[in-house]
Symmetry: C4
Subunit: 200 residues, 4 copies
Amino acid sequence: MNKNRLEAFSDGVIAIIITIMVLELKVPHGNSIDLLLPLLPVFISYVLSFVYLGIYWNNHHHMLHAVWKVSGGMLWANLHLLFWLSLVPFTTAWMGENHLAEWPVALYGVVLLMAAIAYYILQHLILQEHGKESVLAKVIGKDMKGKLSILFYISAIFCSFVNHWLAILLYTLVALMWLIPDRRIEQAFREQEALNRERS
Amino acid sequence: MNKNRLEAFSDGVIAIIITIMVLELKVPHGNSIDLLLPLLPVFISYVLSFVYLGIYWNNHHHMLHAVWKVSGGMLWANLHLLFWLSLVPFTTAWMGENHLAEWPVALYGVVLLMAAIAYYILQHLILQEHGKESVLAKVIGKDMKGKLSILFYISAIFCSFVNHWLAILLYTLVALMWLIPDRRIEQAFREQEALNRERS
Amino acid sequence: MNKNRLEAFSDGVIAIIITIMVLELKVPHGNSIDLLLPLLPVFISYVLSFVYLGIYWNNHHHMLHAVWKVSGGMLWANLHLLFWLSLVPFTTAWMGENHLAEWPVALYGVVLLMAAIAYYILQHLILQEHGKESVLAKVIGKDMKGKLSILFYISAIFCSFVNHWLAILLYTLVALMWLIPDRRIEQAFREQEALNRERS
Amino acid sequence: MNKNRLEAFSDGVIAIIITIMVLELKVPHGNSIDLLLPLLPVFISYVLSFVYLGIYWNNHHHMLHAVWKVSGGMLWANLHLLFWLSLVPFTTAWMGENHLAEWPVALYGVVLLMAAIAYYILQHLILQEHGKESVLAKVIGKDMKGKLSILFYISAIFCSFVNHWLAILLYTLVALMWLIPDRRIEQAFREQEALNRERS
């Protein structure tokens, strides 16, 4: 019932976060093409964060698709996730403006890590509410990607102080891991739909 | 009928308010971790306001869940509430940038107080429209939390000039009071749903 | 069918316009209460524009409630309205920052006038599509308020150069005229609903 | 099923993009009418981009109207489109602030070109999913407008370095081409609806 509003609110917040990030691409004073070059690290940071927020929106979308009970705890776990995502424009801008320097790159990872943990908590609460035999439980399975992401984020945070490019590489790898379509998820939904049709 | 649009508009405004607040977390010029320290009061203010807006969204959501008649008066009472909430980013930023000084802390409370009064008016109008015997009336009951909040805000405004930390403590206490799930509300809804099922 | 998306998009744009206006309330540097005084004209402008956008949202909401056919022309007439509304934050800020000086006050009126004309065009297109015998046509009637508003805006634009306070007074009067609930509209809807019930 | 959320998210992002562009119309310091004159190229750029985003919203709206299957690929193709559209405020501001100088005008075209390609990819994926015999396929047909737009954008990018006014003219022509209502589309929908009615 109230799932729609939870989705709408999350969509709104993610849409705003994804869009206000572009305000950090400060318009250069002058019309030479050379003025765009110093914006390159800001642009790279923007692309990376855009992809991350796209992934979160996508996964959030898939996870809530199978939800049919919304508890008070879920509402707050969702707000907790949105809180960490709302800090992404800040860390993106700090990283971009400082040409991917160590501390900003580490903080970028910390916020991603916290968002991943917040997502895990939300997922855990949803699973608890829906039971281990639900479609959702089957879809998520052992959630290897989620666990691997957290491991990668922690590694990247430490890497930041050794080689910040390695950290950026790790963030990119996590993003790519999520971008590659998970055939299993779509498969599971299709099986369920086939089952539903048979029953009715 | 038009409830959906009232909800959607409120969600949109609250989502934007909650997100533009983060723009006040101005990106420091430089990449040292020490530059984040002066941002701490801004960050604390942001967290507090994020929680408050989350609470308003949550309560608004619950209150409108049981609404089935929307009057012109309700639309305006709702806009009145959104008006005061829209000032939260301003007071949050003023409070954060001045390290929680007395006047900004007092003004922060004034805006919270006005929002609480606006919420009370909206609630009153909804109850008037739906009758004292509605689920909504039972859920809200004597609205102890609402009345207590207003008392706390007034106290906090006066406290600001004596000890601003005490005021911040009071704001935090009000937030915690609302964060603790209200079992009664969810209980009342469940009872009603059980009743509905019996009837049909 | 696609009415929902037209409403959702309009709600989104109006919600953003109403909220980004508050960004013009620039946080003063310092924590003294005296620093808020120079913000007073900005605040007054903000309140006025907030009310105007609230009125537009409200009227838009009522008008589309009775719409059941959406044409390509209506989509563009709606975007045309949103275009002029999107300029409100600019004129509001210019007026506020210049303590309600003549030219900014006149431009404020020009944008309101253009928005009113855009609204009139949208209304005209909707009526054309739905016929003179529709509920909508009855509700709008002779649209005295709409015509009166346009007259008031034009007067206010000229007044700006004589006495800018008179212009502000006129803008306030138009807003008040719309704020006072139009019993006829709600009445017409109730009658229609009663009719529908009888038929079914 | 999840089409609604795809639409809602796209609407949100486009609504925010269209509205934050107005923030680039920086409020002049002073109240003379002469101060508005230097804003003219910024205003022209704003109008052009507003119309472009309106066209994208409009076309997106029409295209998704006929969609009834949403795949993971479509979600990402849609995000890809939103990414390029999110850069429009940046190129608009750069073009406006530099009085339509050559490089900014060229970059403006590059972003429009990339958005057009992203739209084409999204359209292609949707057609692939729905089959060549679908209403959608008939509506889109040979997509002359889409192909012509891409040709015009490329020409405009090269023109920017010869005569930037010619480039602006080309951008305006493309916008006008899309603004003129496509009777065929509305016709095709009406025929389909008539067919549906006959069948049921």
